[in-house]
């Protein structure tokens, strides 16, 4: 299993990555991207071979909604995306769901919760 984490916070990428590595997933690789532009570059570099994408909502350069739109425009929208947000009432979360995100996880979250949600979504892929 290969997972892409798109978040401008290196700390959050590490926290989420650590939680997933500790999960009972057959995890081969965690790829990190610092914003939506880097996320699109990662999709192209890995020929869109990801089982799950976790994506922050607010990021510089290209935010989470922009990332979803851009990957759809490039016909790369095949992997389930779980949005990560500190504000579940953010209108951008609703827009992300309309743009193809499969769910969202609101902070604060425990490592167990992000593992459970990621596993449930990955199993539907």
């Amino acid at each position: 299993m290969r997972i892409l984490i798109v978040d401008d916070s290196a700390l959050m990428r590490r926290i989420v990555g650590n939680a997933l590595r500790e999960a009972e997933l057959e995890l081969d690789e965690v790829v990190e991207a610092g914003n939506g532009v880097e996320g699109i570059a990662a999709l192209e570099k890995y020929q869109n071979c990801f089982d799950l994408i976790l994506c922050d909502v607010h990021m510089p350069a290209l935010d989470g909604v922009g990332f979803l739109r851009e990957r759809a425009a490039r016909r790369l929208a095949t992997t389930p995306v779980l949005m990560v947000t500190a504000d579940a009432s953010d209108p951008l979360v609703e827009r992300a769901m309309a743009e193809g995100a499969r769910g969202f996880i609101a902070k604060p979250f425990s490592a167990e919760r992000i593992r459970d949600q990621a596993l449930a979504l990955a199993e539907t892929a």
């Binding site: 700390l11 500190a86 504000d87 953010d90």
Partner: protein
């Protein structure tokens, strides 16, 4: 300050206490309680988020350098550099601002949050709520300034 302003500030402080407790218990598995009195200093790290819409104002989190590094280490379970320390207080400010706002009544609870920023220096003066917190021997302060709040 009038009685009405005082009771509003008390409620906003109580909601932040609840938020801090929840965030530390959930994300770090530790207890964080009100206490301490972190004195503002020009070399402290200051994370800031602004609210806009039915809630206008800002949430500011203040840490001394060593304590910011300790927070990052607790998040990661390993030693952290300064970038990670900045990310840690930025993330904490983000989660506290979002969690506190969520506890308000609509329409204030639907206000927008800015992207957090981190700088070194003195926090803004005269916040409406200034609260010190302690976790694992570490202190930090949360300062809330509320310019507009619209609740049903």
């Amino acid at each position: 300050m009038s009685n009405s302003e005082s009771s509003t500030a008390e409620r906003l402080r109580r909601l932040m206490d609840e938020t801090v407790l929840e965030v530390f218990a959930t994300m770090l598995g530790c207890e964080c309680v009100p206490g301490g009195a972190l004195q503002a200093a020009p070399d402290h790290k200051v994370a800031r988020i602004t609210f806009s819409g039915a809630l206008a104002g800002k949430c500011v989190v203040v840490f001394a350098d060593m304590d910011a590094a300790k927070l990052a280490e607790m998040f990661l379970g390993e030693a952290a550099d300064e970038t990670m320390a900045d990310d840690a207080i930025s993330e904490l400010c983000n989660v506290l601002a979002g969690g506190w706002k969520r506890r308000l009544r609509p329409p204030a609870s639907g206000a927008a949050l800015s992207v957090p920023s981190v700088a070194r220096g003195m926090p803004d003066s005269a916040p409406d709520v200034c609260r010190g917190y302690e976790f694992d021997g570490t202190q930090f302060a949360v300062r809330l300034t509320v310019d507009i709040i619209a609740e049903d």
